[in-house]
């Protein structure tokens, strides 16, 4: 593979590229689902190809192909240079890259059990046992389960001399129980909605999730929601569980800090950001308790944003994003680092696959846990009147990332420090910085989970990427609740 990549770099350079990198990627995935006692889908897929990214005449070009033959590589590399020359017809300044020392490296996601070594029979048996538990509860009308495994092996070589071979594993699993009755569909999911929990791990993740053990409770909650009271409208203190808070971080911190959005590069699709460059180290993003990092390093945990090097050969780093409430950092790349006065990329450029251009993506954007010991039960006990919301059901935010609205699967009213009743259709909304400034308590490390979001969409053509979000349950004061059903 290295020979193929080197050949591509040689061709690109000979054709006039002043910079070139080549990525050869082999991706393998397995997806298994069940629905109401039957296997829904069972599929394996494999994809291999190469991309060449170049700068020629001071502008970017990118070409990718499944063909790894000598002639195929030549065509792809030459095409990338031709495309760059076309880009140069509509440019203002030459692209400049922040310097990065070339490295030779090998890295593989630490894992205990290769997920592809586990038999399909064993996987299906697990899913069907979960399904059986879910449907043993009267009132469940639909039960869905899923298991997903991915392996991505990548060779990255650049004209500057980098030679990096990385192999990443990820796994995901989850389930949802639906209860339809009257004029209402209610659902509960575990360990999270929209595919469950995902991490860069081997099969050991599946063993850790206690999937079967929680199935009956989840199904019972789905049915019980039909007898719960509607979420009230008004202003309340709310406590978010860690999975919902993970998505809140993703949408209202992770996306606004992407420097390509800030610079207008996503204006036509994903949008821009309220975090204009003048706000760096000046904006009070949240309360003093809010400390957020973008951390791609292994020591942060096995998040979907964990790697050794990004897709332009920059080592994984930890960037302080919010420090004691103050906005302190963006997600950057070699091309964009200079716009914020940095002389090195933050190492966040990633591509969905071999045929997609790497772009700035969230790594693991995590809210650090509270320093004082605090469990969720202690947090509830210290709340006079509020609503605990768990597991995301809907999410939406404007294209500058100010106004958001989230719905959750289940809520619990808290009075005088106790959960007093279940609430259905809970939702809350707000303005990003107002919301984070209202945070007044974060649970401590024991309650902290590094969640995986496997479906983050961005770019044209759109790319789907996995991101990580560590969070512990937290409390927010005086939040607008219930507007999702207002006027309906």
């Amino acid at each position: 593979m290295k020979q193929v990549a080197n050949w591509a770099l040689n061709i690109a350079t000979m054709r006039g590229a002043t910079y070139a990198d080549a990525r050869i990627v082999n991706q393998r995935s397995r997806a298994l689902t069940t629905k109401n006692g039957k296997v829904g889908s069972a599929s394996d897929s494999e994809s291999t190809g190469m991309s060449v990214r170049v700068i020629a005449d001071g502008a970017w070009g990118f070409a990718a192909s499944e063909g790894l033959s000598r002639s195929g590589v030549e065509i792809t590399a030459a095409r990338a240079v031709e495309i760059a020359r076309a880009s140069a017809q509509v440019k203002q300044q030459d692209v400049r890259l922040a310097p990065e020392k070339p490295v030779t490296a090998e890295w593989t996601t630490p894992h205990v059990i290769d997920p592809f070594s586990i038999s399909v029979e064993q996987n299906i048996a697990l899913l069907l046992s979960i399904d059986s538990e879910l449907r043993s509860v009267a009132g469940i009308t639909l039960a869905e389960t899923n298991l997903n495994f991915n392996r991505e092996e990548q060779w990255f070589l650049s004209s500057e001399g980098s030679d990096i071979h990385q192999t990443k594993y990820s796994a995901g699993a989850g389930y949802t129980a639906y209860a339809f009755a009257g004029n209402e569909i209610q659902k509960r999911s575990y360990p999270n909605s929209y595919g469950g929990q995902w991490q860069n791990k081997g099969y050991e993740l599946i063993d850790e999730l206690k999937l079967v053990q929680n199935a009956r409770r989840i199904a019972e909650e789905a049915v019980a929601l039909h007898h719960a009271d509607q979420c009230p409208e008004g202003t309340f203190d709310i406590i978010l569980d860690s999975s919902q808070l993970g998505l809140q971080i993703h949408e209202s911190i992770g996306h606004p800090i992407e420097l390509d959005r800030v610079l207008g590069m996503e204006a036509n699709f994903a949008g821009t950001s309220f975090l204009t460059l003048d706000k760096l180290r000046k904006l009070r993003y949240g309360s003093e308790l809010v400390n957020v990092v973008a951390d791609a390093r292994q020591e942060h945990g096995p998040g979907l944003g964990t790697f050794a090097f990004d897709d332009e050969g920059v080592p994984a780093q930890c960037t302080p994003i919010i420090t004691n409430g103050l906005f302190t950092g963006y997600l950057s790349s070699r091309e964009t680092a200079h716009t914020i006065g940095e002389n090195r990329s933050g190492g966040t450029l990633r591509a969905e696959g071999w045929n997609r251009l790497p772009m700035i993506r969230m790594t693991n954007i995590s809210l650090l846990p509270g320093e004082k010991p605090l469990t969720l039960e202690q947090l509830i006990a210290s709340t006079d009147h509020g609503i605990l919301m768990q597991t995301n059901r809907s999410w939406s935010i404007d294209d500058k990332r100010y106004n958001f609205q989230f719905g959750c699967e289940i809520g619990w009213e808290i009075k005088n420090g106790k959960r007093v009743r279940m609430i259905k259709n809970p939702s809350y909304s707000g303005i990003t910085t107002d919301f984070w400034n209202s945070l007044d308590a974060i649970c401590s490390r024991d309650e902290w989970t590094l969640w995986g979001t496997p479906n983050c969409g961005k770019g044209q053509p759109q790319q789907v990427m996995g991101t990580g979000h560590g969070a512990a349950p937290s409390r927010f004061r005086n939040i607008k609740v219930g507007s999702a059903y207002k006027g309906s």
């Binding site: 629905k35 296997v39 829904g40 069972a42 599929s43 394996d44 897929s45 494999e46 190809g49 502008a59 970017w60 070009g61 990118f62 070409a63 990718a64 031709e82 495309i83 076309a86 880009s87 017809q89 509509v90 440019k91 399909v120 029979e121 299906i124 069907l128 009308t141 639909l142 639906y178 004029n183 209402e184 569909i185 610079l263 207008g264 590069m265 996503e266 204006a267 036509n268 699709f269 949008g271 045929n355 251009l357 772009m359 809907s394 939406s396 935010i397 404007d398 500058k400 100010y402 106004n403 609205q405 259709n425 939702s427 909304s429 044209q460 507007s483 999702a484 059903y485 006027g487 309906s488």
Partner: protein, 443 residues
């Protein structure tokens, strides 16, 4: 065996320069095997003998360990795949969707198109961001019972955002034939929207008469078409459960699924190779039927709901097997209203209302009442006394699609339209009363 793929090229611009410019070529072969009611699928993008042997073996290995599925049908042969053609509702054939002019677009031609858009932006002292893309794709299906089908298509697309210091405007269009696209004209409309919505003012959230341009209509109504599926009814996850045959929308709403429509794109057969039928989903506000894959239709015929769901038969809308979702309609065409109104006429007839260019980040809040939330974006205007007055700050909405399609006061002639939240459709602009804006954002 499914074969899909092609060549795709996209030139992306922002801040009045080309900042990304990509091209890729990829083809995938996907093999499904069946052993005594057991089935599974494996796919690869390698077409050498060894890779093809391995993908078949992978599919076999996965299939052999499945539990037998009593609902699994034999693969259709060529005759069965055409047996669902309905002469009453089908045009003879889909029009050709392959245009040599589109395949011959080079990076240089795309750059020249972008240059025109950038020049329009500069003329108005704006900055622009967007894309100019072109593609050539194939879809084929072959099975061991002799079925063999092949579809080729081209597509060119232009999407433009024009940005002023505190406002923006947007336009997007696509077509199999590049000759149907006019980047300069789209750029001028987007620029006008950006200029006219500058210095936007905040007006309170509440229920307004709104005029949704076609892209806004398709992005919001797209959230209901997953539910027009026999499998969704069987799963009791559809908002149409218990409602087929009832008048759910206004008298003026008639919706077809029609792959043969001249403004539609896409493949004339489904994931099993069945010919896609042209079907009325909604007639004069009454939900008439849903679509079916072959196995879903057989299951529905045996279900307790069989007498409450309208016609039950394979319609050619199934996804490739195995899958748990069944089917959905993907070639939505709204019928031309009896008295179509232009956008200008709708505005002129509105005493007070809001014109919406585009919607964004739409998600489902309530699956049975079909309440969806989302934001307006890139050109939202206050209408007073029949005239556009000025730009207004963007709104969040929480709106039931059932209520919305019951409150349509006027529609334009449907056009091919493209957004970002749903698939492309042939939809009209709509004037809707009591549209439910619940919050206002800061721009």
């Amino acid at each position: 065996m499914l074969i899909s793929g092609g060549r795709f090229a996209l030139t992306r611009f922002a801040n009045n320069i080309i900042h990304q410019n990509v091209e890729d070529e990829n083809h995938v072969v996907s093999v499904r095997t069946v052993f005594s009611g057991r089935t599974a699928r494996a796919a690869t993008n390698k077409f050498d003998d060894e890779s093809l042997r391995r993908v078949v073996e992978s599919s076999e290995a996965l299939a052999r360990v499945q539990h037998p599925d009593p609902d699994l049908l034999p693969m259709p042969d060529a005759q069965e795949a055409e047996s669902n053609a309905d002469p009453a509702n089908s045009r003879v054939q889909s029009p050709s969707r392959y245009f040599a002019e589109t395949t011959s677009i080079t990076p240089q031609l795309r750059a020249e198109g972008v240059k025109k858009i950038v020049n329009a932006a500069k003329k108005h002292q704006l900055t622009t961001a967007g894309i100019f893309s072109s593609s050539e794709s194939v879809e084929g299906i072959f099975n061991s019972r002799g079925l063999s089908k092949w579809h080729t298509q081209t597509l060119a697309e232009v999407s433009i955002t024009m940005l002023a210091p505190d406002s923006s405007g947007w336009q997007k269009a696509n077509s199999p034939n590049i000759a149907n696209l006019d980047p300069s004209a789209l750029a001028e409309i987007a620029a006008t929207k950006a200029i006219d919505s500058a210095n936007s003012k905040e007006i309170p959230a509440g229920k307004y008469t709104v005029i949704l341009e076609p892209a806004a209509v398709l992005d919001i109504v797209g959230f209901m078409f997953w539910d027009y599926s026999g499998m969704a009814i069987l799963d009791q996850r559809s908002f149409l459960t218990g409602r087929i045959g009832s008048k759910l929308f206004g008298e003026n709403i008639t919706i077809w699924d029609d792959v043969t429509h001249p403004l539609q794109t896409g493949c004339p057969f489904d994931g099993e190779g069945m010919r896609r039928q042209t079907l009325p989903l909604v007639e004069n506000g009454v939900v008439r039927r849903v679509v079916y894959a072959r196995a879903t239709a057989e299951r529905m015929k045996r279900s307790e709901q069989k007498d409450k769901v309208g016609p039950i038969a394979p319609t050619g809308h199934g996804f490739p097997l195995p899958n748990e979702m069944g089917e959905m309609p993907v070639n939505i065409v709204f019928a031309t209203p009896q008295n179509p109104r232009t956008l200008a006429q709708m505005i002129a007839s509105t005493e007070r209302g809001v014109l919406v260019t585009r919607l964004w980040y739409i998600r489902e809040v309530d699956p049975y009442e079909k309440i969806v939330t989302g934001m307006t974006r890139d050109g939202t205007f206050l209408i007073e006394d029949g005239k556009l007055q000025q730009g207004v700050r963007n709104f969040r909405f929480n709106q039931s699609l059932i209520h919305m399609l019951s409150n349509v006061e006027a529609m334009s002639v449907p056009v091919r339209s493209s957004g970002e939240e749903s698939f492309d459709m042939v939809v009209p602009a709509m004037k809707i009363r009591d549209f439910n804006f619940t919050e206002v954002t800061k721009f």
